[in-house]
């Protein structure tokens, strides 16, 4: 169940009953939540961090997760440093969030890190705790998203806004729930799953940037993962792994990118026992809704006031959300506003109504202009991805002296064509034919290039501006 507004994460956890059987697995170590009763990842130094603005900057996810559990209710502010935070942005983050303490899994600060009052080393070996656990602080949780100018945007949440969509287990599980996610838990999509596991009487397997998709799947399967989430790109990559068959999930969740019909269908066939759901959520807007009917898009009936907590609307074709789960504000001097005067967050995700459903067509900023006509790369990708031999695709712009731009597609096939067997040309023809049937002419790619792979960023999303 979600914690009451004032309760800390540890308070919610320790009130939930037996912790000894619930485990957090990292890539290199694992602990039970019960181990935190007598031990602390921060050793004897937890109270040194009381009231401080703390940057949690560990390489390892398990270590970060333990620090978050312990510091909520203790620190004034927790900044979740993603592992790929570029060194040149650390000073900006430290200054903007008035960081006065850093928690790290290294023995000493990295060269170039600005000096702060406290540098505390954190470890999953959980040395004995020296003080009683007590909360009391209303901790701000700060998530970093990649800004358009390169500097990260710092998005302010509370535990209550982060956990607002978590309703606890609705059906009694016959076996214990073990969550996992391809996401890093320092990102919104991963943090959601981490909190779902903690607040939902479950265990969790954490991913690692150091680990291949195949190795992660093997580890997750060995731990008996029952619930697992990732972006559509994560899932397309996972389904390319021979180890994907080892998982037997009861629940498969997609978020962070548009879930097209092809990936939903493929997951349903691949994991016939699983409930497949795609969620709409963003760091700023929070979790808006889950769609569980197996179809892309969402029912038009979701628009309007869903509850006292949540209202959705479409304005200028973009989805807007007002809810208690949205972030409070951005940190920083730029004064970017997060919500409009009425409290709606503009997601920048463009939707289109067809029949009684809305479909995501792309990002506002990602529009390609072909001779004055707008093309969302994602809508073209959705058509291409529907071809049974296509694993994933990236539609991008190619400059053109006549129309300003054309769209072209880079396509990853389920099996690479052998050079010279004629299959490539036949497939190009089939994919183009599919596009011509489904799309207006100017949206049909001028070229289909077969590529061995596409770059998926650390966020789990296809890298659109390589």
């Amino acid at each position: 169940m979600p914690p009451p507004d004032q309760a800390s994460l540890w308070c919610a956890l320790s009130g939930a009953g037996s912790l000894g059987h619930r485990r957090l697995w990292g890539a290199g170590a694992s602990v039970t939540l019960g181990d935190l009763t007598g031990g602390s990842s921060l050793g004897g130094r937890l109270e040194e961090l009381r009231g401080r603005s703390v940057l949690v900057a560990t390489a390892d996810q398990l270590t970060a997760g333990l620090a978050l559990i312990e510091l909520d209710g203790v620190a004034r502010r927790l900044v979740l440093g993603p592992p790929d935070l570029p060194a040149e942005h650390v000073a900006f983050v430290v200054a903007t969030a008035a960081i006065d303490a850093i928690v790290s899994d290294r023995a000493a600060p990295d060269a170039g890190t600005p000096p702060v009052d406290a540098f505390v080393t954190c470890s999953p070996t959980l040395p004995a705790r020296t003080s009683e656990r007590k909360g009391g602080e209303r901790t701000e949780w700060i998530l970093l998203t990649s800004g358009t100018t390169g500097r990260p945007k710092m998005v302010v949440h509370t535990l209550a806004s982060l956990a607002g969509a978590i309703t606890g287990a609705t059906t009694p599980a016959t076996t214990a729930t073990v969550w996992s996610t391809f996401y890093d838990i320092r990102r919104y999509g991963g943090l959601q799953i981490f909190l779902r596991a903690l607040l939902g009487d479950a265990s969790m397997v954490l991913s690692s940037a150091e680990e291949s998709t195949g190795d992660f799947l093997i580890r997750a399967a060995a731990c008996g993962v029952t619930h697992i989430s990732g972006t559509p790109s994560h899932w397309r990559r996972a389904l390319m792994s021979p180890s994907a068959h080892r998982l037997a999930p009861r629940y498969v969740r997609l978020s962070g990118e548009i879930a097209d019909q092809a990936i939903l269908d493929r997951l349903r066939v691949f994991y016939p026992e699983a409930r497949i759901a795609h969620a709409f959520a963003s760091t700023e807007a929070g979790v808006a809704f889950d769609v569980g009917d197996g179809l892309a898009g969402f029912p038009a009936g979701l628009l309007g006031r869903q509850s006292a907590d949540l209202e959705l609307k479409v304005e200028d074709s973009s989805l807007r959300i007002r809810s208690r789960r949205t972030a409070a504000r951005y940190l920083g001097p730029e004064g970017d506003t997060l919500a409009d005067r009425d409290g709606f967050v503009d997601t920048g995700d463009m939707v289109e109504r067809r029949g009684d459903r809305y479909y995501f067509v792309g990002r506002r900023g990602g529009v390609v202009n072909v001779g004055g006509l707008k093309v969302h790369p994602e809508e073209v990708e959705a058509v291409i991805n529907g071809h049974p031999e296509v694993r994933m695709s990236l539609v991008r712009t190619r400059k053109n002296p006549i129309t300003g731009a054309l769209v072209v597609a880079d396509v990853v096939l389920t099996t690479e064509p052998a050079p010279g067997d004629g299959r490539a040309a036949a497939l190009q023809g089939e994919i183009l034919q599919r596009c011509r049937e489904a799309l207006p002419r100017y949206k049909v790619p001028a070229a289909i290039n077969f590529v061995p792979a596409l770059v998926v960023a650390a966020s789990g999303k296809i890298l659109r501006h390589a």
Binding site: V370, G371, R398, K399, N400, P401, I402, T403, L406, V408, L432, R441, Y442, A446, A447
Partner: protein
């Protein structure tokens, strides 16, 4: 394949793909009357850049826009020369 025949074959192929009725591509045929619209021409330019390695529209500083099919072919012949 000569530049001329490359250009003509792209005209024919793109017209076929785009379901456009292409007038016989004689040198004096005005491009705007050829049956090809600007999207077709855009695709032809992109394909010719891949095939011939040149895009005379983008590379020439003061290239006049071709009016006829003959102008269009000459633009590519000059760029490829």
């Amino acid at each position: 394949m000569s530049v001329r025949s490359s250009v003509i074959s792209q005209f024919e192929q793109v017209a076929r793909e785009q379901n456009k009725a292409l007038a016989p591509p004689a040198d004096d045929l005005v491009l705007l009357d050829s049956g090809l619209d600007s999207l077709c021409l855009a695709i032809i330019v992109a394909r010719l850049e891949d095939a011939l390695g040149v895009d005379p529209f983008s590379s020439a500083q003061d290239a006049e826009f071709p009016v006829t099919v003959g102008d269009f072919i000459r633009l590519y012949e000059d760029a490829a020369a």
